[in-house]
Amino acid sequence: MESKAQYRKGCVRTVILKMLSERLMYGYEIAQELARRSENVFALGQGTLYPLLYSLERKKLIVAVKRVKDKASGRERLFYGITPKGKQILDQDIMTWLEIVKGMSLVLKGQYEY
């Protein structure tokens, strides 16, 4: 269980950067989209989401771009976007991930089906 959490922790930054590289998103939307697209593998404890977003923002990988008032609920949503530095880190993360997948595949040699 602890091992799974560690794996996920390392990957969450990459998947959040990937989603924000596609379009601007707000906090709740990120959590929902992440769970949907990963089929709940990356269903973040919602409490992990904001500390992670603030941490990425402090490292200047993402930035709070704009506030938009939702017409239906009247609530203000803060949208995040990726920065050029964030894109660089995302590219590096993806390269690292591909190397890991390749290495793991070679070692496991198709013994497991996904």
Binding site: G47, Y50, Y54
Partner: protein
């Protein structure tokens, strides 16, 4: 625990700078309200959603600490200090200007000012001083408002004779800026 109590406790534990506090408060509150709205659509009550919130977000104390860490405790400290400085600096600056105008001001001694006082040194003048004695080093203003440093040679009722290295001036008491009480020099 209701939304307000939960969010307030998180903010209390996070102890953020005011601008961050406002933003985190709005984000957390709106996030939870969206959870409640979505819960209503699938038949989950607000109480049940709040139980889910506590389970998913963690206790407010835990979440507050995580947010404080993510925002950077040192950065938060600097933001708070910057806010204090923005308030304190104009007050201190204003105080110094008033102090300089009415209480105490430094004047530079030019080469022709006063015998036995090195040229280039500065004298601090007490502008509140009302009594003068012979041999006091003083600063006075000429008719053109230019300030000069000199030494009192003699005193009469309302006039003072001030000697400078190469001249003497007779001035009225009202033209006195003040009496020097400290002398110093910058050497670079």
């Amino acid at each position: 625990m209701n939304i307000e109590a939960y969010v307030n406790k998180v903010l209390e534990c996070a102890d953020l700078a005011p601008s961050d506090k406002k933003r985190v408060c709005a984000e957390l509150r709106n996030h939870i309200l969206e959870m409640i709205d979505n819960g209503k659509h699938i038949g989950i009550s607000e109480t049940e959603v709040m139980q889910m919130v506590t389970k998913e977000f963690g206790t407010p104390e835990e979440l507050g600490k995580m947010i404080a860490k993510a925002k950077g405790r040192f950065l938060t400290y600097l933001k708070k200090q910057a806010r204090h400085t923005a308030i304190t600096f104009p007050i201190v600056f204003g105080f110094l200007i008033m102090f300089n105008l009415f209480v105490c001001q430094p004047f530079k001694v030019t080469k022709d000012s006063v015998s036995n006082v090195p040229a280039g040194s500065r004298v601090l003048v007490n502008k509140l001083s009302k009594t003068f004695n012979v041999n006091d080093i003083v600063v006075f203003r000429r008719a053109d408002k230019h300030a000069l440093v000199g030494r009192i040679k003699s005193l009469q009722d309302d006039t003072i004779v001030v000697s400078r290295s190469d001249s003497e001036c007779t001035i009225s008491k009202k033209d006195m800026v003040g009496k020097a009480f400290f002398m110093y020099a910058w050497h670079f």
